[in-house]
């Protein structure tokens, strides 16, 4: 290869690693916006406001969790004469109708049972059944969409409603906190993830003026907004909540995240259940990205979805598996073409990652101390023990190849050193591959016990990356888009 050709190849490989760093920098940027929320938030424009609210609870075989949810809704610190609950029973075959009827009798018909005789079409159709009923008269001023298994803190609805006093606001979302009574490792990881994805990221989105998604289990719409988006939620994608969020903003209304409104939810506690849930979410995001393709990177006077920073953050998450692949290809390629450059780029890349890891982990654990108490270990190990080893190798050169072996009187052979180096360079991709192994182990009875230790080695971030990649493959293949329900046990504390 000529000298010029080699230089071009090195430049391309370095650029690939640079692309791999974009999601890390985007994450850091979001976290740097969070403190701005201390001084620039919508509480300044909020005012006492208690509109007449209809709560829509979609329910398909939710008998195990519904009674507690309804009791909590009736216990909300909100004027009883301004709150009605419509349970839309999606042709349940369990005791859901009996539970709802009993609760309706207990609470003087403030709870209404709406039965769909033909169900199974998915959550969006179920919601629309209830929304049509709610819009059929003038009583409702705001609509709260929730999930059957979530628990609203008593002050949560009124804290959301106060933002609707500002007519520029079309919808408000709350902080969904993982609240399982006896959380396992996966649920604890999700608890930590929700602080990063909601308590932190949505504060940053409040600052940017562009919200990626109203939480499916906690979205309060003004009646005007609901009518402006067509009086129904989208049924053509797997992400009806994101679709409504985008339509709201494209119509010129703001979407606000209220961190002080806390809603507890029970989340999946196995990688298999998580995989099923998140593949659906990721496929929904593919559909959203495609459906709103004319929005990205096109600034507008009516909304901020087209702003550069929001677009970069959206695509940094959307293309995270690709970025991780680019970083690995870049580093491994450099190793064979320009070894010294590979070492420098590797140290630079992971130096950025370590800085982001320390800042983001510290901020996340401080941001929500209740979650930090439950999930501090999962927070520290979120990137995985493997990634922490890679970070230490980047920060302290020769630590693993020379210093530690020499303490034991050992020396790494040249071949061993090459294998070790290539493992470090390609870890971002290896971790995604190992995430599949975690899922396989979990499904194999004899070695199921290995799944959790391996999960901690791989890390939760790479598991999410692998799931996203799987979703893209399924979407590209046109796999059937079924609406799978995540099984819940009603073990939410609160």
């Amino acid at each position: 290869m000529s000298e010029v050709g080699r230089d071009v190849l090195v430049a391309i490989l370095v650029a690939l690693v640079g692309i791999g760093a974009i999601p890390v920098l985007a994450g850091l940027y979001q976290y740097l916006l969070v403190p701005v929320h201390a001084f620039r938030n919508h509480l300044r424009d909020a005012a006492p406001h208690l509109p007449r609210v209809v709560v829509i609870v979609p329910a398909w075989n939710e008998g195990a969790v519904l009674a507690a949810s309804l009791d909590r809704l009736m216990g909300l610190e909100y004027p009883p004469d301004r709150l009605k609950v419509f349970v839309v029973d999606d042709a349940s075959t369990d005791d859901t109708p009996d539970v709802v009827r009993a609760k309706a009798a207990q609470y003087d018909d403030r709870i209404v049972h709406l039965r769909r005789e033909q169900g199974g079409q998915g959550k969006a159709h179920t919601l629309n059944h209830g929304i049509r009923y709610a819009l059929s008269d003038d009583w409702m001023q705001a609509l709260l969409i929730m999930d059957a298994d979530v628990i609203y803190r008593p002050d949560s609805l009124r804290r959301m409603a106060r933002h609707l006093a500002d007519e520029r606001v079309g919808a408000v979302t709350a902080f969904i906190r993982e609240g399982s009574g006896r959380p396992g490792s996966v649920a604890r990881f999700i608890g930590y993830e929700y602080v990063t994805a909601q308590a932190a990221a949505r504060r940053a989105q409040n600052i940017m003026g562009a919200m990626a998604c109203l939480a499916g289990g906690a979205q309060l719409h003004s009646r005007e907004n609901l009518e402006a988006v067509g009086g129904q939620v989208d049924t053509s994608t797997l992400a009806e909540d994101t679709y409504t969020t985008f339509l709201t903003q494209l119509n010129g209304r703001r979407v606000v995240f209220e961190p002080g409104a806390v809603v507890l939810a029970e989340e999946p506690d196995s990688v298999t259940a998580l995989w099923k849930q998140r593949v659906r979410w990721a496929r929904g995001n593919v559909q959203i990205t495609r459906n709103f393709r004319r929005v990205w990177f096109r600034p507008s006077r009516t909304h901020h979805l087209g702003n550069l920073d929001f677009g970069i953050i959206w695509f940094a998450i959307y293309l995270l598996p690709v970025a991780m692949g680019f970083a690995a290809v870049g580093l491994v390629g450099l190793y064979f073409v320009a070894e010294l450059t590979a070492t420098q780029v590797f140290q630079g890349f992971w130096w950025v990652a370590v800085t982001a890891y320390v800042f983001i982990t510290a901020a996340t654990l401080l941001l929500d101390r209740e979650t930090a108490r439950r999930s501090w270990l999962q927070g520290l190990l979120f990137p995985g023990i493997g990634a922490l080893v890679v970070m230490s190798a980047a920060w302290f050169p020769n630590l693993w190849e020379v210093r530690l072996p020499s303490l034991l009187g050992l020396e790494m052979s040249p071949t061993g050193r090459m294998v070790w180096t290539l493992t470090l360079y390609s870890w971002s991709v290896l971790a995604m591959a190992l995430a599949w192994v975690v899922k396989l182990l979990e499904r194999t009875r004899a070695v199921r016990w290995l799944a959790t230790p391996l999960l901690y080695v791989v890390g939760f971030g790479p598991v999410l990356c692998a799931i996203t990649l799987d979703a893209y493959v399924k979407q590209a293949r046109g796999a059937s888009a079924v609406w799978d329900k995540t099984e819940k046990t009603g073990r939410v504390m609160g």
Partner: protein, 61 residues
């Protein structure tokens, strides 16, 4: 009940739960203060930990 008469833990929450306009306005003001305090502490402590880690690395390298 005015804000100056509330001292015991939980008093604020009970006052806000009365849902009177004064109580709701007081809750908004209090939440703004809490948000400011929380995020300033989060920013300063996270930054201090990150700088400490970078300095530690500089010293060890």
């Amino acid at each position: 009940m005015s804000s100056s008469h509330r001292a015991a833990p939980g008093d604020d929450a009970r006052w806000w739960a009365t849902l009177s306009p004064d109580a709701l306005q007081d809750e908004i003001r209090s939440n703004r203060r809490s948000e400011r305090r929380l995020l300033v502490v989060v920013a300063l402590v996270s930054l201090a930990i990150t700088v400490a880690a970078l300095l530690l690395h500089g010293g060890a390298a």
